[in-house]
């Protein structure tokens, strides 16, 4: 057993004049979760399609479990599972029939096909809906069935291309939990996403891609560490108090731009000493903040600093959530 499940070297893919992958390299160790994070059009889906043998690369190499995807596509397909951006399930079949169909097409022993279907329906909370036509399923149920269909033949390497795009927050969290369970059983997972939170939650190692190139990689913590420092966030009762605090806190670190709210953000190198210093200054000036939080840089901040553009401008995380999620 090799310890590298996926190896990509200098991968290039062009569509006419458009270069979707401009020389991408990465390795995914067996049994880990690898996140390809980037905006729409970054090349994430193209990379997945090359790795799952739907597209032939124009340059470079890609291997899954040591097997070249371009020269031995069929052997690769026997080892992988794919759940794409759209739930690829047959609406005119029941959930169970969909899973049996995949069981047949992956040449599972006949007896195993319905046993496995039942197992997966139960695992993904679809046992009650298993004998209903998929056209009656909700979006979240379809995604779960799609994920189940990708697992029928117990693939060693699983590809999930934006598994939660378009799902409501609750279904998303449900799906994250199910994905988390899978991974704990040793499946190697490559996940693409444009949601920072998703990569942060699920991936052991993250590659940030933009315009077909890897712009940064590392664990979520390492990537965030590339942006040195921590942001201290103070809420005040009034804007007047916030304005006075802003002037005083300039002594502690870089004060963020005024946003018309009764809050002040200060970028500091080191949260502990800076926070003590800030509290001392505020206390001397008799300024009492309503709340104080220390926010570590988000992956969004990392992406912004590397590419000069936000990861997903219309999906900017709600600031309250970001603080709650990242504050220690």
């Amino acid at each position: 057993m090799g310890d590298v499940a996926i190896r990509v070297e200098g991968l290039v893919k062009r569509f006419g004049d458009l270069t979707a992958l401009a020389g991408v390299d990465f390795e995914v160790p067996t049994g880990t979760v690898f996140g390809l994070l980037g905006p729409n059009g970054a090349g994430k889906t193209t990379a997945v399609r090359v790795l799952t043998t739907a597209l032939r690369p124009d340059g470079g190499r890609a291997e899954v479990e040591g097997i070249d995807v371009a020269t031995h596509p069929k052997e690769v397909r026997a080892r992988i599972g794919l759940a794409g951006q759209f739930a690829a399930v047959d609406e005119s079949l029941t959930g169970r029939e969909n899973l049996i169909l995949v069981g047949r097409l992956t040449h599972q022993p006949k007896k195993q096909q319905s046993v496995r279907a039942g197992e997966l329906l139960e695992r993904f909370g679809l046992e009650d809906a298993g004998d209903r036509l998929v056209r009656t399923y909700s979006g979240g149920m379809r995604r779960r069935l799609d994920l189940a269909a990708a697992l029928v033949h117990r693939p060693r390497v699983l590809f999930l291309d934006e598994p939660t795009t378009g799902l409501d927050p609750r279904s998303r969290v449900d799906l994250w939990q199910m994905i988390g369970e899978l991974v704990s059983e040793g499946t190697t997972l490559l996940l693409t996403t444009q949601y920072l939170e998703e990569a942060d939650q699920l991936a052991d190692y993250i590659c940030l891609v933009d315009h077909g190139r890897v712009v940064a990689e590392g664990t979520a913590t390492e990537l965030k560490a590339q942006l040195s420092g921590v942001t201290l966030h103070f809420e005040f009762a009034t804007r007047t108090a916030a304005r006075r605090a802003r002037a005083k806190l300039a002594a502690v670190g870089t004060v963020g731009p005024e946003d018309g709210e009764a809050s002040v953000e200060v970028g500091v190198a080191d949260s502990g000493p800076a926070l003590l210093e800030a509290v001392r200054i505020l206390d001397e000036a008799s300024l009492k903040p309503v709340s104080v939080a220390a926010r570590e840089p988000s992956l969004d901040d990392v992406f912004l600093s590397l590419t000069g553009q936000p990861l997903d401008s219309d999906e900017a995380p709600d600031s309250a959530d970001a603080i709650r999620g990242a504050a220690r």
């Binding site: 043998t53 739930a87 005119s92």
Partner: protein, 252 residues
């Protein structure tokens, strides 16, 4: 090879199961051809004169071929749906025979077509259709219908693969059907048509197939008619089969 066959059968099973749950397809395959028979037999039939032949015996072979040609729409729509919903993407990621998607579609539609034709034969007998040729000739006629269904399904498979969705597939397929079926000798005799249309109908696939099937059920078929019809079926499959496979392979 064995795997290709078993995968094709699995896909056929999947497609037939899907069709049986699609009320539109079920109605299209049962109710609609019956309405066609009744309309032509009783509404138009009285006004169409075919010298020397009872109109119902003239009509039924035309209806058989027409229903099979219209069945092509189902092939086109089915593939277009699989392309647009991402099902094909899933099939491609599985370690299955690549040929199975197309083969399963064509085989399922062939099965459905055969069912429709047998239903039509039954309905035909009820409204007075009689076979004047031998039983062997009748079986040969059924064989020609199935062969034609096979050939034309690749034309519609190609349409389904290039269309972006089911509606587009139907929009693309309809003019072809209109040209081949309505402007044919399926329902009316050649003799009443203007010269240029007669020339067209002496060679176009629907009319050629209808002529052979009609000849066989009337007991008046020539070897030439039968061979011409089979040549069309084989020709359509030989040209459009590889084309459809090519487009399927390249489709993204």
């Amino acid at each position: 090879m064995r795997e290709a066959l078993s995968d094709a059968i699995t896909m056929t099973w999947r497609n037939l199961k899907g069709m049986s749950r699609n009320p539109q397809v079920v109605l299209f395959s049962t109710f609609q051809p019956v309405i066609f028979v009744l309309t032509f037999r009783y509404v138009f039939g009285g006004s169409i004169r075919v010298p020397g032949i009872d109109y119902v015996n003239f009509l039924m072979p035309g209806v058989f071929v027409q229903s099979v040609a219209f069945g092509g729409m189902n092939t086109a729509a089915g593939l277009a749906v699989d392309m647009s919903t991402g099902m094909i993407e899933r099939f491609r990621s599985l370690p299955m025979a690549r040929s199975a998607v197309l083969a399963g579609r064509v085989l399922a539609d062939l099965t459905r077509n055969l069912g429709v034709v047998l239903l039509m034969v039954g309905v035909g007998f009820l409204v007075g259709f009689r076979i004047e040729g031998s039983p062997i000739e009748f079986l040969l006629a059924l064989g020609i219908i199935v062969a034609f269904a096979f050939g034309i399904s690749f034309v519609f498979a190609l349409i389904g693969l290039v269309a972006s969705n089911a509606e587009a597939a139907q929009a693309l397929g309809f003019p072809i059907l209109a040209l081949m079926v309505f402007a044919s000798t399926a329902f009316v005799p050649l003799e009443g048509m203007p010269g240029w249309l007669q020339a067209y109908n002496k060679v176009q696939p629907v009319s050629v197939t209808v002529a052979a099937v009609r000849g066989l059920t009337l007991g008046s078929a020539t070897t030439g008619q039968v061979l011409f019809a089979l040549a069309w079926a084989v020709g359509l499959a030989a040209v459009f089969g590889p084309l459809a496979v090519r487009v399927y392979r390249r489709a993204k």
